[in-house]
């Protein structure tokens, strides 16, 4: 229900792209045994299916209408045929079952592999990539596009194996039975293919229109429900209802259009099969009159034609599935081809024995290459020191954190830890050295403990110790089941302050050498704030700390305050020094105090 049909517009790709096929086939190699088995099963199914009408024909011509044989002989022959018939029926049943399951397994396993690879690949891409690609589109790659490819793997493989084989087999048998009648019958192949193709194309276009209208209808509904209080207070019930009725009418119209289309095309296959029967009766009957065909063969023809149209229709339908699957495959592999353009150290520096002296040396940075967000930023934080960054939104504070974590690399200048350029560390090591508490938080739908521990493997006891040390345990005690409280969607909802406390606890579990804190801008409840203040004091003590500060209490605690204005550091010093300087910082503080006084 969450997905209201995010759709791509370009939906087809050339089928003759061998490069693409090659890449798809690479994924098949892990399952070649099973795929071979599926092919063998296919041959078995086709053979048995085609054998059935042949058996009936043999039964009719050889025994039922063969007046040359003794009655007893005819009857026993018929029994023989029936037993073989029964055998083939069972083979078809069993082989089809195993084939369906095998192919589904192979298809799903391949898709799972592609999905995992793609997911892992995406997480390795640079933040820059995520800035330019909407999440919705990326999610579609992982879900709908892969699903499209899966359609191809299972249903198309089945189709190519079974339906194509069956059509070819039937045509061969028909030609063997009576070449001229078979030739007449084969005119149905192109007709059926053209009609089905046309239908598939029209139906897809219409289906898309229905879906987009349904998406509109559903999002209107969901918006109206979530805004119901507003609509009621503003007295918009009637108008909203009218708008809804309009959308609902549009949906009806599109559905009626679809019914018309289906109503026109669906009976056509049936019509063709009836026409085939008429042709066989007329033309085949004439052949019997000329002694070119037996009655049994005529009956066999009728049975084969019945088997003929189903796979023909499916084959044509599958053609468009393959097309859209190829388009999806193309998009997926394009993503795989994207590589992070970041230069990573060949021999990453070990993260051990790092003391934690952080230095920015004349760092310049711009996101778009035009607008400079950081200009000549230099500062040093030694272990045990705290630096507070203050300044208006957009002055470049968060960018410094992004650069420190190597989400982006500076265009000019260097960032070093213990005089080692941060690009010398592996990304994982760097991000383990630098612990960040951001305003946003990623919450797992799990217990509080699991949310704190994540993948660090910290024991419960150790977590409790850390929490007690920093006083965060007071926050935990407030929750109904302490560390075992379920949080996230469907569980306990956390306030802004509580989220920041959780983020804090999470980072402390990782025991980083450098601590970065982006303080919450929103008002947080007094109690959380008290806990947070204490936790900050406790955990900053023996670390290198950088704070994007929004609270005066935190700023006062800092050894150095860096005031940022439009990407530059304009003032630096501690609170008292800056107040004395009477510059921008003093102005900011004064403005607030002034406000307080009225």
């Amino acid at each position: 229900m969450k997905d209201f049909g995010y759709q791509e517009d370009s939906t087809t790709a050339p089928l003759g792209d061998f490069n693409l096929w090659g890449r798809i086939l690479v994924y098949c190699r892990y399952h070649w045994q099973l795929m071979t088995a599926a092919i063998i099963l296919s041959l078995l199914i086709t053979g048995a299916t085609l054998g059935l009408p042949y058996l009936i024909q043999t039964g009719i011509d050889g025994y039922i209408t063969n007046s040359e044989l003794e009655i007893a002989e005819r009857l026993s022959g018929l029994s023989m045929i029936s037993i073989i018939f029964f055998g083939l029926v069972i083979i078809v049943l069993v082989a089809t079952f195993f084939q369906v399951v095998t192919l589904e397994y192979v298809g799903q396993s391949i898709m799972h592999r592609i999905r995992q690879n793609l997911f892992g690949h995406m997480l390795k891409l640079d933040p820059h990539f995520f800035d330019t690609n909407p999440t919705g589109r990326l999610v579609t790659r992982l879900t709908n596009d892969i699903q499209n490819m899966h359609e191809m793997f299972t249903s198309v493989l089945v189709t190519i194996f079974n339906d194509l084989l069956r059509i070819v087999g039937i045509l061969i048998v028909l030609f063997l039975l009576n070449a001229r009648l078979a030739l007449v019958m084969s005119i149905f192949v192109p007709i059926a293919v053209i009609i089905t193709q046309l239908f598939a194309r029209l139906a897809r276009a219409q289906f898309r229109r229905i879906r987009s209208q349904l998406a509109k209808l559903n999002s209107f509904l969901s918006e109206s429900i979530s805004g119901i209080a507003t609509l009621q207070v503003f007295g918009r019930q009637k108008e909203t209802r009218k708008l809804h009725e309009k959308l609902s009418f549009g949906y009806l119209q599109r559905n009626l259009d679809q019914i018309k289309l289906f109503g026109t095309f669906m009976p056509l296959t049936e019509f063709m099969s009836s026409t085939a029967i008429a042709l066989i009766l007329w033309y085949g009957g004439s052949e019997i009159l000329r002694n070119q065909l037996t009655l049994g063969e005529l009956v066999a023809f009728l049975s084969y034609m019945r088997l003929f149209f189903q796979p023909l229709r499916e084959l044509a339908q599958k053609y468009s599935i393959v097309q859209s699957a190829m388009a999806s495959a193309e998009r997926i592999f394009q993503l795989f081809d994207l590589k992070s353009d970041r230069i990573l150290a060949d021999k990453p520096h070990s993260a051990e024995d790092i003391h934690g002296n952080l230095q920015f040396h004349g760092v310049h940075f711009s996101y778009d290459g035009k607008h400079q967000v950081c200009k000549d930023i230099s500062f040093t934080i030694r272990r045990g020191e705290t630096v507070a960054l203050v300044g208006a939104t957009g002055s470049g504070k968060t960018t410094l954190v992004n650069l420190l974590l190597r989400f982006y690399d500076p265009q000019q200048g260097r960032i070093t830890i213990d005089d080692i350029d941060i690009s010398q560390f592996s990304l994982t090591n760097l991000r383990q050295l630098v612990g960040v508490v951001l305003q946003d938080i990623f919450i797992l739908q799990d217990t509080l403990l699991a949310n704190i521990v994540m993948d660090t493997g910290t024991s419960r006891q150790r977590v409790e110790e850390i929490l007690a040390q920093t006083g965060i345990d007071r926050f935990v005690d407030r929750l109904p089941s302490g560390l075992d409280t379920l949080i996230g969607e469907g569980g306990q909802q956390l306030s802004t302050g509580e989220k920041q406390l959780l983020a804090f606890a999470r980072v402390l579990c990782r025991n980083p050498i450098i601590l970065v804190l982006d303080e919450a801008t929103a008002a947080i409840d007094t109690e959380s704030e008290n806990i947070l203040e204490e936790a900050i004091a406790e955990s900053f003590a023996n670390r290198t700390s950088l704070v994007i500060a929004h609270r005066l209490s935190t700023i006062r605690r800092a050894d150095t305050i860096l005031v940022m204005e439009e990407g530059r550091i304009t003032e630096r010093g501690n609170h008292d020094e800056l107040m004395e300087l009477n510059g921008h910082y003093a102005e900011l503080v004064a403005m607030d105090v002034y406000n307080e006084a009225t």
Partner: protein
């Protein structure tokens, strides 16, 4: 034939004792059957004619084959038979179009009617209702359940009638040829119906699981990709990939569950058809040999048998379809049965100049909670600017919502200019109130449409005036399309502060005698908030205004401040009085002064 009766009988068979009576369910759809009776009649007539036409094709085939076997056939006779078949087939094409358009079309009309009814119903419901039922829940009724009902009334009905007619007729035709052989050939058929019923039911359940797994997968990748920076910052890439792998495996497993059913369903249909063939071959062949039936009979038998395979599967399928339709209709019924606890039919009140609300000994408990939020609560709010503050959970928002008539209250507990609100039409009370929520809802539409929500006829000057008062005009002009900028999912994303100011402009434009601002500018910085209220003073003259905020500086601008504690008024009065009397207020004010909490430079 009486169509509605067909449905009724289906319905009676399936209804379960706990569910509402068939009569109750039928009142949702029966009038529609009546309304579209001509359409349905034409559709079913076409459907039945199609069935008989289709059954006649094997008859012609039999004649042809018999004439060939008897060597009495000529090319002309064969040509004539062939043409008959083609003519019949053409008739079938036309009639099939007709029944599809008529009956399936009907199911779509029915769908629309119920959809509109559901919508009209829910826009009237009170907020308590929406707390019981989540958006997703209601959405499910309006899409999945409605879909199931539409399927049952469209394809389900068609398949039921079709299967019934075809089965009866095919059996009749076959019995006409040879009764015993008919019975033998039909022996495997009931198994097909039973198998299809069991399997398609199981298939539906497994398919639902697959869809659930799929949306979990989608949701997981979405939430991961949205916070990709956080994932990287915490080096959680491997961890997330592992979690994704777990979900992916579950998804694969549930898909295989579906495949196992699919792998059985169609082969079984083929098996049953083939078993019938086998019986005809074995026994029918004998009958031909001993001369009891003709060769043409034999061929016609085979054709009839093939015709029976689909109806047999359909019977199994239809029972599931109808059952699902009834379950869904029951759910829709329970939704439509919910009554809004707000009086829609009460006495209309005139638009008033001055309004006084009076809460008298009000007790209020949220439907989803056990303990009351407001206990024996009394408060009078007349013209003037009132401030309200208190801890989270002290009941501030609840009071705002109750005053805005979003929640029902007991009789004699809320008075509107001295009249009990439960005697007054809720819409006419709402027409006097402007309300700004802390997290305002804006709609995916232009900014202008959002501001003019309550007054679409307002001229642009008035709209801009409201936007200026709410200090949002300049922000709007900075957008590429100004007031015509589309906001929401497909448009510009607004910051929390912008959203709140837009909501305020919206409430100012309707210019109603009551204005309730429930912490409505919490995301706007203190200075701007200050300016806004200073500018509003004149506009609010003579109105009944309630401003909820935890920023005490703002409340100092009001005439009267109410301090709430645990659902009770602990103190009220002017700022200076409260500083003296309320310890909570005093300590909060001191703290806000000392720490200048909102060092927010935006």
């Amino acid at each position: 034939m009486n169509i509605t009766q067909t449905y009724q009988t289906d319905n009676d068979v399936e209804s379960t004792p706990a569910a509402p009576s068939a009569k109750q369910l039928l009142r949702h759809i029966l009038p529609l059957f009546r309304q579209y009776r001509l359409r349905l009649f034409a559709g079913f007539a076409a459907l039945i004619v199609v069935d008989f036409l289709q059954l006649s094709i094997p008859r012609i085939l039999k004649r042809g084959v018999d004439s060939l076997a008897a060597e009495s056939a000529t090319r002309e006779i064969l040509l004539r038979y062939g043409l008959y078949i083609i003519l019949i087939a053409m008739g079938v094409v036309v009639l099939r179009f007709i029944w599809r358009y008529m009956i399936i079309g009907f199911s779509r009309y029915l769908e629309r009617a119920i959809r509109n009814r559901i919508f009209a119903h829910i826009v009237k419901m009170d907020t308590a209702f929406f707390e019981k039922r989540t958006t997703g829940d209601i959405m499910a009724h309006a899409s999945n359940d409605l879909n199931a009902v539409q399927m049952a009334c469209g394809m389900g009905m068609v398949a039921a009638v079709d299967a019934l007619v075809m089965t009866v007729a095919a059996i009749a035709f076959m019995s006409f040829i040879h009764v015993k052989l008919t019975l033998l050939a039909l022996l495997p058929m009931p198994f097909l119906a039973i198998f299809t019923r069991i399997l398609s039911g199981r298939m539906h359940r497994r398919f639902t699981t697959v869809q659930e797994q799929f949306s979990l997968l989608t949701e997981f990748s979405r939430s991961t990709l949205v916070s990709v920076k956080l994932i990287k910052a915490y080096t959680m890439e491997k961890f997330q990939t592992r979690e994704f792998d777990k979900l992916g495996r579950k998804y694969v497993k549930s898909n295989l569950g579906v495949a196992r059913i699919q792998g059985l369903m169609f082969p079984i249909a083929t098996l049953v058809g083939n078993m019938g063939m086998l019986l005809i071959l074995f026994f029918g062949g004998r009958l031909v040999i001993i001369g009891e039936i003709s060769m043409g009979d034999f061929v016609a038998f085979i054709t009839y048998l093939y015709m029976l395979i689909w109806p047999m599967m359909a019977i199994g399928w239809v029972t599931n379809l109808v059952q699902r339709g009834i379950t869904s209709l029951t759910r829709i019924d329970s939704l439509l049965k919910e009554r809004s606890l707000l009086p829609y039919a009460g006495e209309e009140v005139e638009k008033q100049e001055q309004i006084t609300f009076e809460l008298k000994n009000l007790n209020f408990t949220y439907p989803s909670s056990a303990s009351p939020v407001l206990k024996d609560f009394s408060l009078t709010i007349g013209p003037g600017i009132h401030g309200m503050t208190g801890r989270t959970g002290s009941g501030k928002s609840t009071i705002c919502k109750i005053l805005a008539r979003l929640y029902p209250v007991k009789d004699d507990s809320l008075f509107f200019n001295g009249l009990d609100v439960n005697t007054l039409a809720v819409e006419s009370i709402c027409a006097n109130i402007g309300y700004v929520a802390q997290e305002p809802t804006l709609f995916s539409n232009s900014i202008a449409a959002n501001i003019k929500l309550g007054k679409p006829e307002a001229v642009d000057e008035k709209m801009e005036e409201a936007a200026r008062l709410a200090a949002i005009h300049e922000d709007i002009m900075a957008f590429p399309d100004g007031y015509e900028t589309i906001i929401g999912e497909r448009g510009v994303k607004l910051s929390g502060g912008q959203r709140q100011r837009l909501a305020l402009a919206r409430a100012l434009l309707i210019d109603r005698p009551v204005l309730i601002i429930d912490d409505g500018l919490s995301a706007v910085d203190v200075e701007t908030e200050h300016q806004i209220f200073a500018g509003l003073k004149e506009h609010l003259q003579g109105k009944t205004v309630l401003i909820v905020s935890n920023r005490l500086k703002l409340l100092t601008m009001t005439d009267h401040i109410i301090v709430l504690e645990n659902g009770e008024i602990s103190h009220d009065g002017r700022h200076e009085q409260l500083l003296e009397q309320s310890r909570f207020y005093r300590s909060m004010f001191a703290k806000q002064m000392r720490e200048s909490e909102q060092l927010d430079y935006k």
